[in-house]
């Protein structure tokens, strides 16, 4: 990762807003500088074993312990969770926010039953979540009220205009999960909870991910929507439909000029109502890619949906389906892999990238944008042909 390149322009000024989105092909992390050295981290992914949020802040010459004011875990999937516990270790005073659904007894029963399955070398996807839960339990028993469970309209972080560095008040508000999201999620979890005498299995990832925390950051008249993994539900009570319904009753805040598109730009996450009601015309858009097995996000159609509404849309990395390096393996293995072309072995270590937006012009929302590493314009997704 070219952290050295990212250092070139230095830290954001106290009156400068920054949104920096990191994402390899599996994982996502967003850092937001709200002003005057106050940073919020949304989700986490690793680079060379270290949370990118920590590596980035250190590269800018900042102390994570003093800079990170809040950490938001939008949902429990491992592509959004890796390294979160390390962030909290480095920033022990930061507030930690998780979706309210994750402390429901139904989900905890699911997690603790799954935790009895120690059959895989790689562990299970709940390891990092359970570390976060342990941290919250410790904070609670220490009387440290620096944790919270978010629902729609929960105020996650506030910064008074007198200390914001730019004279505008800041507020970060949860747009989801709605009550409908919560009940649907728990139904799915109940259906996937292990029972006695069932064969042990890996942790499933029931989707869609409506129970994740989408947020609106308001800085005076400037708005930023971070869509997490929210998708359309087809019902007014859940997903984007529920958010739009709640917004119609009582607007969440200013229209956003910057949009972290939800669920890696998937077609089912695209909702025209979001663009018409929550965002300004032709906003900046950014997303992170995702891959699992043969599935790749965004698809070309997903990218087209976004590009129709945003000329300035970016992706943090382009999925090149990189082949695994055979070098370093014994010659017999290399020969086997060469001779058996039906067997494809691909490395998950893919080029890493980041997209950074900065602005001082809060009133007109004129953002400066920078691309690092494997980041590119979203139109490249349509042009790129997967390498097999």
């Amino acid at each position: 990762m070219p952290f050295s390149e990212m250092q070139a322009n230095g830290q954001p000024a106290p009156d400068q807003i920054e949104v920096c989105v990191f994402g390899p092909n599996y994982g996502e992390c967003v850092l937001v500088h709200l002003g005057n050295g106050n940073w919020v981290v949304v989700d986490s992914c690793l680079h060379e074993g270290e949370p990118v949020a920590i590596a980035y802040l250190r590269a800018l010459g900042l102390d994570p312990a003093r800079s990170i004011r809040a950490v938001i875990a939008t949902h429990w999937h491992d592509d959004h969770y890796k390294g979160l516990s390390q962030i909290l270790t480095n920033a022990p005073a930061a507030h930690i926010w998780i979706s309210s659904v994750l402390i429901d007894e139904e989900f905890l029963r699911f997690a603790m039953r799954m935790n009895k399955n120690k059959t895989s070398v790689a562990g299970h996807k709940l390891d990092e979540f359970l570390k976060i839960i342990d941290d919250i339990r410790r904070r609670r028993s220490d009387g440290q009220l620096t944790f919270g469970y978010a629902n729609s309209r929960t105020a996650i972080f506030r910064l008074d205009r007198s200390v914001s560095g730019h004279g505008h008040p800041c507020e970060m508000m949860a747009l989801s999960p709605s009550h409908g999201d919560v009940s649907e999620f728990l139904e799915r979890i109940a259906a996937n909870t292990p029972r006695a005498r069932q064969s042990k299995r890996a942790v499933p990832s029931p989707s869609p991910n409506h129970a994740s925390i989408a947020t609106l950051i308001s800085i005076g008249p400037l708005g930023i929507v971070l869509g997490a993994d929210v998708e359309n539900s087809g019902r007014p009570t859940a997903g984007w439909e529920a958010i739009l319904g709640a917004h119609k009753l009582q607007p969440f805040g200013p229209r956003a000029s910057l949009h972290k598109a939800s669920h890696h730009g998937s077609e089912n996450a695209h909702n025209r109502g979001v663009w018409d009601n929550l965002l300004t015309a032709n906003p900046l858009a950014v997303l992170t890619p995702w891959r699992k097995g043969a599935c790749r996000l965004p698809t070309a159609d997903g990218a087209r949906n976004i590009l129709e509404l945003s000329q300035d849309a970016f992706i943090t990395a382009l999925d090149a389906r990189s082949r695994s390096k055979r070098d370093g393996r014994p010659p017999g293995v290399q020969r086997f892999l060469r001779e058996h072309r039906g067997i494809r072995l691909r490395s998950l270590a893919v080029p890493f990238g980041a997209v950074r937006f900065r602005t001082r012009d809060i009133s007109s929302a004129t953002w400066n944008r920078e691309l690092f590493g494997a980041a590119c314009h979203l139109s490249q997704v349509i042009k790129a042909q997967p390498v097999r």
Binding site: N38, I103, M112
Partner: protein, 216 residues
């Protein structure tokens, strides 16, 4: 070999050694009938083996004279004599093909298609604990018994190596789907207890611990 303090016709078997004071109680004397002729021939065989091992001979001589007879010559060139007190069975290990594992992965099935299944891999050869690679493997390469077990979330081992069968060296690959144990009643009960305690620790007296925004 008989133990030095043992008389022919009897043997002592010491069972267990968990606690010294229990040893006396658990020492069991067993009387076993041995055919005297068989024991004599056994001792002769043993002495013959010792002598043969200590003697100098060309490296190509691989036969062992037993009871004064060289089994590679004479009347019984390939059939073992029926009157031997001890029959040495060929080692089962030598009958199995020897294998050298060059590469081993643990995989977790992600998706199952008609002909292939995709999986994420942990490189066990590199002592990795992280999934670093992914692959698509043909379902038809699996054994019949394993095909029904290929479902998302299934765990398997994938090995590439060499093996020797009848002196022939060949490369091989093997995918074995793991038969995972079940969740027991006790595990479920203990997990539910932990979940209830955790829920109480996180959310007990919810009014008192209502979430509030971090702020300045």
């Amino acid at each position: 070999m008989l133990a030095p303090n043992m008389e022919p016709g009897s043997s002592a078997v010491e069972i267990g050694a968990a606690a010294e004071n229990a040893m006396r109680a658990t020492t069991v004397s067993m009387r076993t009938r041995f055919d005297d002729g068989a024991i004599r021939r056994w001792v002769q065989t043993d002495e013959a083996l010792k002598g043969w091992m200590q003697a100098e001979r060309p490296a190509t001589q691989l036969t062992v004279p037993v009871n004064g007879r060289d089994l590679s010559t004479g009347d019984h060139p390939s059939v073992p004599p029926s009157d031997l007190g001890v029959v040495r069975y060929p080692s089962p290990a030598r009958e199995l093909p020897r294998e050298v594992v060059l590469q081993e992965w643990e995989g977790q099935v992600q998706e199952v298609g008609e002909r292939v299944f995709s999986a994420r891999l942990v490189d066990l050869t590199q002592d990795s604990k992280e999934e670093t690679e992914e692959t698509d493997l043909p379902i038809e390469d699996l054994g019949e018994a394993d095909r029904g077990l290929v479902v998302p979330g299934a765990i398997f081992r994938w090995i590439i190596g060499y093996r020797w069968t009848n002196g022939e060296k060949e490369r091989f690959t093997r995918v074995v789907i793991r038969r995972l144990p079940i969740w027991t009643e006790r595990e479920i009960k203990s997990a539910d207890q932990e979940a209830a305690e955790l829920h109480n620790a996180l959310f007990g007296n919810a009014g008192e611990w209502a979430a509030s925004p971090g702020s300045d």
